[in-house]
């Protein structure tokens, strides 16, 4: 089975929000909710300021707390390593939302099930990339199989330092970040 991961090369992100819009359109994400977001933070002391644009989404963790805390088995780790939700089994107890350190989940208004990024699994099955990756004009978001050494994600991760969000949570995320300062200019 492939080992799907996403690499977010922050060096190329321009904060255009095209990924957010594409995701909402592709997945019919309800108003006021997002499966992916671009967090903008400004750090430092004036005049030495640095802005970080960081795309965030479900990390499809190898040790997902949302899955281990789901009381009905509605949240599950599929064979390709992505974390998915069986909407019919979901009782809307919100334990997964509380358990996710990345705040990647929300309750779908009106229907009550927990919803989140599926890595556009329906597109992957058709041989396409996730909508956010396909639309990213700066090629900041890269998707692929980490077990394939020829894949772009493997090459990117081998040539640059990468990090994951909240490693202390012990979730072993599958979304990797290449930060601006990770490669010397």
């Amino acid at each position: 089975m492939p080992r799907y991961v996403m690499v977010i090369d922050q060096r190329n992100c321009i904060g255009c929000y095209a990924c957010v819009a594409a995701c909402k359109t592709e997945n019919d994400v309800p108003l006021e909710h997002f499966r992916t977001r671009v967090v903008e933070t400004v750090q430092g002391e004036f005049p030495n300021l640095r802005m970080e644009l960081r795309s965030e989404l479900c990390n499809h963790c190898d040790n997902p707390p949302c899955v281990s805390n789901c009381p009905t088995g509605a949240s599950y780790k599929s064979k390709d390593g992505t974390v998915q939700i069986n909407r019919n089994r979901c009782v809307g107890c919100k334990a997964c939302i509380a358990a996710c350190p990345y705040d990647a989940r929300y309750i779908y208004p009106g229907q009550g099930f927990a919803d989140k990024c599926t890595l556009c699994i329906h597109r992957i099955k058709q041989g396409k990339e996730p909508a956010c990756v396909a639309t990213c004009i700066g090629a900041s978001r890269v998707f692929g199989d980490l077990d394939d050494p020829q894949s772009k994600v493997s090459q990117l991760l081998s040539e640059a330092n990468s990090s994951v969000l909240l490693p202390e949570a012990g979730t072993r995320p599958r979304v990797f970040y290449i930060r601006k300062q990770s490669k010397p200019d």
Partner: protein, 322 residues
Amino acid sequence: MEITITGVNAITYPSLHIWNWTVSVYLFCGGLAAGLLIMSAIANLRAGPANPEDRVDTVRAALLAPFVLMFGMFFIWLDLERHFNTYWFFLSFEPAAPMSWGGWGLGLGLPLSLAYALSNVSQEHRQWLRFDFLKELAAWLNPYLKPLAKIVFALGIFIGIYTGVLLSVLVARPLWNTPVLPIHCLVSALATGAAVIILIATRGSTQLFFTKINLWLITTDLILMVFDFLGHLTSGASHRESILPFFTYTSQYFVFGVAFVLIALLFPLALVSMLLCVKEGNKGELSGATRFRMKLSAVMVLAAAFIIRLAWVYAGQLTKLS
């Protein structure tokens, strides 16, 4: 270089609101039912062949417990977003999910606590039961009182600890993620159980006995709360920040500051009041005023225990790993 975050875009940043007061009511009622079951079970297991009139307060606690449990379960059911999918709790068992343990524990515990309640009804009091089948069931269950007491004792411990485990396993919420919380919840459950027995007891000696028990429980509760805060304070940055809502009187956190002040007032007040009552009770006859003060202290304990759960449920959701 000092790093300060000066801005976070609000457009796509999630504002987390997971659970509300219904969960607090559930945790409070679950703990209270656990406390009632444990206290009543201990009384039944330690007592010899007693006069039915001597057991009346224990019987009241046992009768009350399943209804308190049902009340709490109703509120957690209300909190579910998909009420009609509740059956999925009982079509699967997820050993790593505390809520799955809770679903099964409460699902099996409720009929057990009902059976225990009925087994407590002695022949002299069975005329109070409305339906004939209940009278027959009570007569059939009565010989199993002690085995059932052993089972509900374990059930009470399970429920009392579970109300804390439910929150403490969530690594993502630093305020909840502490091993002290389940023990704290169990002790608090016992204290609320004892408090309710003080309120419903008909005999002064029972009230005095449970006031003495509550003295120790409240003291333990306070010590555990201090350790809880100390544990957060001496832990990582996220844990240190997680207790800020209780000590930062800003507009965002003001309500948590008020909750902390109330808890810090109610518990010591109840403690002092109980100490005075015990002192007077040990001298001899209990006056009406002393019995009233014992009941007032019990109300303070219940109020503080509810405020703790309310504050913890809401404040925990404001905390996150950073």
